[in-house]
Structures are given as C-alpha cells and as structure tokens.
Amino acid sequence: MKKLLIFYFLYGSLFGAEYSIIISKKITLSEITSQQIRDLFLMKRHAIGNQKIIPLNLLGQDPSRITFENEILKMDRDRLNTYWVKQHFQGLTPPITQPSHESIKAFVQNVEGAIGYIPSSMVDSSVKVIYEF
C-alpha cells in the first residue's frame, strides 16, 4: 500500500501529473484513494469519515473529464451513460457540474467538502491537492 502510494507520487513527479483533485484548505482530509474518488463520483458514497463530500464534474467533453473518467472511474462514456440511466431509476443523479476549471476551483474554495479536478498547473495555495493523476 505504501509502495503503491510512493509509486503514484513518483509517477506524478516523474511524468508531471496532469490533473489534481482539489479540496478546500479548511478540510483536514489530506489524501484520498482513487477507489474513494470513484465511489464519490458514482454517488455510491457521500462522505469520507465524517466529512461530507460534494463531487464536481466539468461540463461537456473537456479532455480533463475524459481523462478523469478513463483513469479514475475506469468507464467510457457509453458505460457511464448506461450507469446513470440505471441509477436514475433509483433516485440518484450525477454529480453537479461546473462549466470551467476556474469555476470548479472557485466552487471548491467556497464550498467545504467540494472536490473537483483541475489541471495541476492551475493549483495554487488557495486549494489543497488530495490526489493527482
């Protein structure tokens, strides 16, 4: 487990991780697994520990979203659509969306527990990175 984590860090630093999952700095949570992220974005869980988490998707067919779906959710668009159609009948709706990385960043800053992905180049001190891919 530790090895794997180091691998990821290395991977990230070596190849220059493209995207970062960010969260408000006020949240004590410092790291998160890709499995947890997947569960949150598929609305299978809504919290980590006691912390309520609000996942944010990017609107449209931005490369960051495609990468995120492939890398983290490990589902292509067709499967995802099928999934959400099924979930719809159980009363679950997809995560809320924001139209841009900037607005995701702004939303995360303002809403405690919101998480979203932005290009790593946009990360600054206003937000906290809890995962990179």
Binding site: K52, I54, I96, T97, Q98, P99, S100, E102, S103, I104, A106, F107, N110, V111, G113, A114
Partner: protein, 506 residues
C-alpha cells in the same frame, strides 16, 4: 282668490306633487339602474384584467421559484463565474418580455448575478417587486435571494384603454401610475391584486360616456315631465270649471233676478247631489219671495185703490153740494192729466194730478147752501163767502203728508189764481202759481163753460175758444193755452166720452 282658482290650485297640488315625485323617482331609478349596469360591466372587465395580471404574477413567481431551485444556483458559490445564472435570468427576462430585471444577491445584498450585467458585483439598490430565497442542493441555509424589479409599466399590456375608459394603478400610499389622463367626472371601480396586495387596479370611465343614454334621453324626459304637468294643469282647469259651473249658474241667476226683479225665474240644475239640493232650496226661496212680493204688491194696490176712491169720493162730495154732475169731476181729471203730460210732467205726476184735481172744489162743502145754490149772480157778500172755498179746501187737505193729498191741497188752494195776478185767494201770478193750479184752472174753466149750471146755460165752443184766446196770458198760462189748442181734438174726445147723461132730465 276665487273659489275656482282655489279649486284649480288644490287639484294641481293634489295631482302634481305625486306626479312630480313619481317622475323624480322614476328618473332616479333609471339613473341608478344605469349606474348599476355600467359599474357591473366595468367590474366584470376589471375582474378579467386583474385575473390576468394575477395569473401573470403567479407565473412570474413560479418561474422565479423554479429558477431558484435549479442546479445552476450552485454557481452562487463560484460568484457566477461563468455567468450561467445571469444568462438564465436574461433568457427568462426575454421569455417574459418584461421591463425590469432579475437580480440574484447573496444574503448581504451583493448582486451575484443579474439579467442586467452592468450591475453584477454592485450592491442592490432597487426595491424588489418579488423575491425568492435560493437554496443549494446541499445547504439548509439560503445561499442567496432572487429578486425581480418589476415596474408597473409591465401591466400596460393588460390594459385596453380608450378615450372614455382607462385603467391605472393605485399604490398603497395613494399615488397613481399609468394614468393616461384625468377625467373631470368619472365612475371608478377598483380591485387589489391578489399577488401584489399593495397595488390596486382602478378602472375609470368618463361619467358623460357612462351616462350617455341618460343624457341622450334627459331632454325627452324633461319634456315628458313638462307635458304631463301641463296636461294635469289643463285637466285641473276643466274639472274645476265643471265643478264650479252649477255654482256659477246659481250665482248668475241670482244676479239676473236682482237686476230684472223677475222673481219667477228659476235655476235649472238637475242633479242629485248637494249642489242640486242647494239649487232646489234656491228655487224654493225665490218662489217664496215671489209669492210674498205679490202679496205686498196686491196690498199696495189695494191701498192705492182705496186712496183713489176716497179722493174721488171727496171730490164728488164737493161737486154734489153744488149740484154739479159727477162727470164734471172726471172730465177735469182727464183734462188735467192730458195738459200735465203735454206740459212735460212725467206719467206718474200726471196720474197723481189726475187723481188730485177732482178735489179742487172740496172747500165748497163748507159753503152754505143758500150761497152755493143761489141762482143768478152773487152780491158782494155772497161772492166773498163763495171765494173762501179755495182756502177752505186747502185748510182741509194741508195736514196730510200724502203726496196725493198735498197735491190736492195745492190744486184746491190755487185753482182760482189767474196768470196775470188778478185771481184769488192770494193773487199769485205767472210761475208763482203752482203748475197744478194753472192746469186745473184751465181744465175747470173749460168744463164749466161748456156745461149748464144753475146760473147759466152752456157756452158754445166758438165762444169758449174766443174767450181762451183772449185770456191767454191773462187768466191762463199762455203755454197751457197753446197746448190746449194744439191738442184740441183730444180734449173734445174726452168731453164726448164723459158726457153728462142726465143733463136732459134736468
């Protein structure tokens, strides 16, 4: 004020007042009915309009509530970084085709998003028409407030205004908006908006337009009223005249009776009511008066008859004493009347003289028979005694106050006076001798000369006429002599009529 006028006025008052009152009430109720009809119609219109506005406001509210619940409201957290909310508000504004704008503010009043992009980031200064709280999917506290600035101009399209009728908005503080013009006199109905309780919609209509039917028929109504009044006045006049007619007839008959003194006249009113009763009483009274009057007339006539007979008899006594025939008295009476009439005395006076003249020799009753009936001429003493008969007659009659006896006294006293003053007993002359005396003198002498007497035979006419012509202005009044000769035929006719029948026997 005449009874007729009073009756007319009474009729007018009795019929005109209720008439005017009725017409007034009819006119008023027509006006009220018109008012009700107009206001009801206006209320219907107003209700429809207000209903539509309320519906529209409800839609606006629902739209805002829907917007407030939509997912994009989460962009409040990003301060509407991508203008998603603003764009949605703008498109909603365009959808509603409204004047005014939507604003989304945070709880502190800062404008986060707006359909008017220029105001974004500023503090909201506008008074909102409606506002709705905005909640996010994951927060129980409102994250913002959605406002709308909705000027009353938006209501304009619900108002179908005309020159005569328009809508306007009245605010809670009494000020008005959207009022196209001010009407001098108007009917108003108003209704408060259910979804905006501080706004009242007023529908106003010009009074002259609302009451156009009333104004149209007003003149006719007044003419009708006046016509009715005139008709009532005429009717009152005719009824009063009809009522008064029998009374006027009664009054006129009374006047006529007074004027003509014909008490046999009657009123001809055949009625069974009180007026008929009155006229019957009137007729009874008049015939009673007629009857009484006839009695009085008869009595009067009786008295006059008696008086005449007494005088005549008295005259006859005088004549019989001197053995003169009774017809002498009658002839002198007739001559005297004839002379009196031609002289110019009226019928009444002439008649009186006719009755008085027979007494001219009444004084002879006091003359001794020896003197009176002495054949042949009198001596001095006898003549003196004989001549006293004039004064004696006067003395006998003068005490009476009856005009007839007064006249008889004058006749007795003066019938031996001569026009030239040579007569007796007072030697009066000319006009100083009473006309009765002058007339009787002529009549007496004419008859005496034409008759046989104990002391002489009758003169023939030629001799008499010659004497009369000689004595004109001496013994006799010249005017009377002229009258005598002028109407000689009439005097001779009288002499023939009352001829002494027993003359031959004597």
């Amino acid at each position: 004020m005449s009874f007729k006028l009073k009756t007319i006025l009474l009729f007018l008052a009795v019929s005109l007042i209720p008439y005017a009152l009725t017409m007034f009430l009819v006119g008023n109720s027509f006006r009220q009915e018109l008012y009700d009809a107009v206001t009801q119609e206006m209320n219907t219109q107003l209700h429809l309009s207000v209903e539509r506005i309320d519906q529209h406001l409800l839609t606006l509210h629902n739209d805002m509530a829907f917007l407030a619940k939509s997912d994009i409201m989460n962009d409040v957290y990003t301060k509407d970084l991508d203008r998603r909310i603003s764009n949605a508000l703008l498109s909603k504004k365009n959808d509603l085709k409204m004047v005014g704008d939507f604003y989304l503010t945070d709880p502190h009043g800062m404008i986060i998003a707006s359909s008017d992009f220029n105001t974004i980031g500023k503090t909201n200064r506008f008074k909102s028409f409606l506002s709705v709280n905005v909640y996010s999917t994951f927060s129980t506290q409102p994250i913002g407030i959605l406002h709308v600035r909705y000027p009353v101009e938006n209501f304009k399209r619900f108002f179908s205004n005309t020159q005569q009728r328009h809508y306007y908005i009245q605010h809670a503080d009494g000020t008005t908006s959207l009022r196209p013009s001010l009407f001098q006199d108007s009917l108003k109905v108003s209704k408060t908006l259910k979804n905006a309780p501080d706004l009242t919609v007023v529908l106003e209509e010009k009074k002259e337009f609302a009451y156009r039917l009333l104004y149209k028929y007003e003149l006719w109504f007044i003419l009708f009223l006046l016509g009715g009044a005139v008709f009532i006045a005429l009717a009152a006049y005719f009824i009063a005249t009809h009522l008064i007619k029998p009374i006027m007839t009664l009054s006129n008959t009374a006047k006529k009776i007074t004027r003509t003194r014909d008490y046999t006249q009657q009123v001809h009113i055949k009625r069974d009511d009180e007026i008929g009763e009155l006229s019957r009483s009137f007729n009874t009274m008049i015939s009673g008066m007629d009857h009484a009057l006839n009695e009085i007339t008869d009595l009067n006539q009786e008295i006059e008859e008696t008086q005449r007979e007494v005088v005549f008899t008295m005259g006859s006594i005088g004549e019989s004493r001197s053995k003169e025939t009774g017809n002498h008295v009658k002839r002198v009476a007739e001559y005297s009347k004839l002379l009196a009439l031609y002289y110019g005395l009226d019928e009444e006076e002439a008649e009186m003289l006719k009755q008085a003249s027979p007494m001219h020799d009444i004084g002879k009753v006091a003359i001794p028979d020896a003197v009176l009936n002495k054949p042949g001429r009198f001596d001095e003493e006898e003549r003196r005694i004989m001549d006293t008969h004039a004064l004696l007659g006067y003395e006998m009659l003068k005490h009476s106050r009856r005009t007839l006896l007064q006249a008889a006294a004058i006749v007795a006293y003066e019938h031996h006076e001569k026009y030239d003053g040579s007569g007796y007993p007072r030697k009066l002359s000319g006009e100083a001798i009473h006309i009765y005396g002058r007339i009787t003198a002529l009549a007496d002498v004419f008859d005496a000369l034409g008759s046989d007497r104990v002391y002489k035979r009758a003169w023939d006419d030629e001799k008499i006429f010659t004497l009369f012509k000689e004595e004109r202005g001496k013994h006799f009044d010249p005017q009377l002599i002229d009258i005598f000769f002028e109407h000689l035929e009439e005097f001779l006719t009288i002499r023939e009529t009352f001829k002494d029948t027993h003359e031959a026997q004597e």
